[in-house]
Amino acid sequence: MVWEELRFQALLRHADDRLVLGHRLSEWCGHGPTLEEDIALSNVALDLLGQAKVIFEQSIKTDSDKRSVDDLIYFREIRGYRNVILVEQPNGDFACTILRQYFFDVFNRLWLNSLQSSIDKDLSSFARSAIKEAIYHERHTKSWVVRLGDGTKESNERIQEAVSVFYPLSYELFSQDEIDQKVFSKGLLPNTACFEKVWKEEVALTLLEATLQFPERISTQTLRGREGRHTEHLDRILSEMQSLARAHPGASW
């Protein structure tokens, strides 16, 4: 693959993660457990969508098909999407949403922290700005993980279930294939495998505080979201998300 295509594909992964996760969070708008939390979740969604926007805008600079950001979002087929499987999972209940978000938030803070050293000035400047909100997201979701874990018996069971479901999906965030390794070696993007250990340690501390445990047995499912192999969940997301734009191809909104 030529450098331009490598760069495009690598950035797409991180843009897609944030787009899909932001979209999932936006499903809570109007349905949150309290008005305060409805607003808080929407804030995180808006921040993630904003991060996706910046990364998409960077990615299209080297897209050989010269697509716009909206072209990528609304007219790409499912096999063109490069997000991790974790982010396309249904929201489930509030415990599921918060736990999945917490896992991603710890990763995002580590990723943005490392991205500040990118040789690409636009990406490093983006990271310096975005890490501030990422730190807040982590503080917010960590607070909820602890509250729910150490709250009532019911909340503990719900979030423990979420840990069991989402922990096995989290390793995909740290996988590095040839594309990732090439862009890392050129100083463009972080090597996410490097922070898997620290991620696990930090998450472990939070789970301890929350009176939660890692699952005993972890099924080793092969996750290939980075290669465009997704679950039916993303199919449903895209069917909904893309429906109006696709009904009027060529229209401006």
């Binding site: 305060e36 607003i39 808080a40 804030n43 807040y136 503080r139 607070s143």
Partner: protein
């Protein structure tokens, strides 16, 4: 807290803007504890403008003067004009020096 009961309590929110003003009361919200209240205040009240600081306080901890206090607390300013510069006559030559 005076009562032993924990509830999702009412908190008052005060926001300080970048322009060197003091904290201003902006509204209230519901939260169980102080960290929850602080974060909710950030999410609900600090989305616009340039806030630099948030205070949250339990509504029940606010001590307020009552309307009955007003007459004796807040006497009319013009009766104490000696607290204002214009009460004092200074020759122009001194004022302009």
């Amino acid at each position: 807290m005076t009562s032993g009961k924990v509830d999702d309590s009412l908190w008052e929110v005060f926001l300080q803007e970048k322009n060197n003003s003091g904290h201003v009361h902006v509204g209230s919200l519901r939260a169980c504890g102080s960290e929850e209240a602080l974060q909710a205040a950030r999410d609900v009240y600090a989305r616009r403008g340039s806030p630099i600081s948030i205070w949250v306080a339990l509504s029940e901890s606010i001590v307020a003067s009552t309307p009955a206090d007003a007459p004796s607390f807040f006497d009319p300013k013009d009766a104490k004009s000696f607290r204002y510069p214009n009460y004092y006559k200074v020759p122009r030559t001194l004022k302009d020096a």
